[in-house]
Amino acid sequence: MKKRTLVWIIMGFVLALNRGNLSARQIEHLNALAIAGSEGVLLAATPKSLYESRDEGRTWRKKVLKGNAQGNDFTTIVVDPSNPKLVYAGGRDLSVVRSSDGGVTWSEEAKGLPTKAILALAIDPTKPTTLHAWAGKQGMYRTKNGAKDWSRVDFGPNHEITSLTSVPIPTGMGGIYLYAGTVGGLFRSPDCF
């Protein structure tokens, strides 16, 4: 084999390897984004686990999840605005999980939830131990103690929820509004009930 041919073959291998690495550093699906930890790492909730990016979304790495997060199909993720290391996530097969180290170690926090399928989470920015979780047809659930236990609130809106957010707009009744983006539009509810 001529030396020049050999060089071209080696270059081809190198290029192919680089292409493989680049595609491995991307995500194919995305359900939610959050920024966690003191370094401001971008986290992506995907159907194939959590991914992290340390360069504002240019490249991604699958996170190694420690603790007892039982599933992989992440639908939602929120961060405590007063403590960026405190992260909550939910998914179709893992209920609600909580991390106090920026998303490295996770514990399941499902007491009072009726199903493993949690499709949306919202954290109250004015009282971050209060969160809402939407469990699909099972309804809307709320915790007031940082996910230690949950209780049912109501059915939620009459449409599938795609995003759930507590917005610090006062209701005039002592609470703030819970906004739900759904397949049928945007809805809001005073969260004081």
Partner: protein, 88 residues
Amino acid sequence: MDGLPTRKEVFAFAYDPKDPKHLFVGLRDGIVLSQDEGRQWALLKQSPKGVRAILFHPKDSGKIFAGAGDGKIFISKDRGRTWRLQNR
């Protein structure tokens, strides 16, 4: 829950932490912004379409991330006026 004027399918939602009355909604046609709690909406021209997540940077609210369902990540550094694709 009471319905707001946006009756289209909502893919993503966020509020501006600097002014929570400013609401951002990801629709099939792009991101729309309301500056009055949702009474009136305007499409942010050049915004990415069909995004599944909108996220304000917690330490720099002028910086907004948007994530599409296929994994594309967009960033705006001027509160949503212009957007740049970060990956791919």
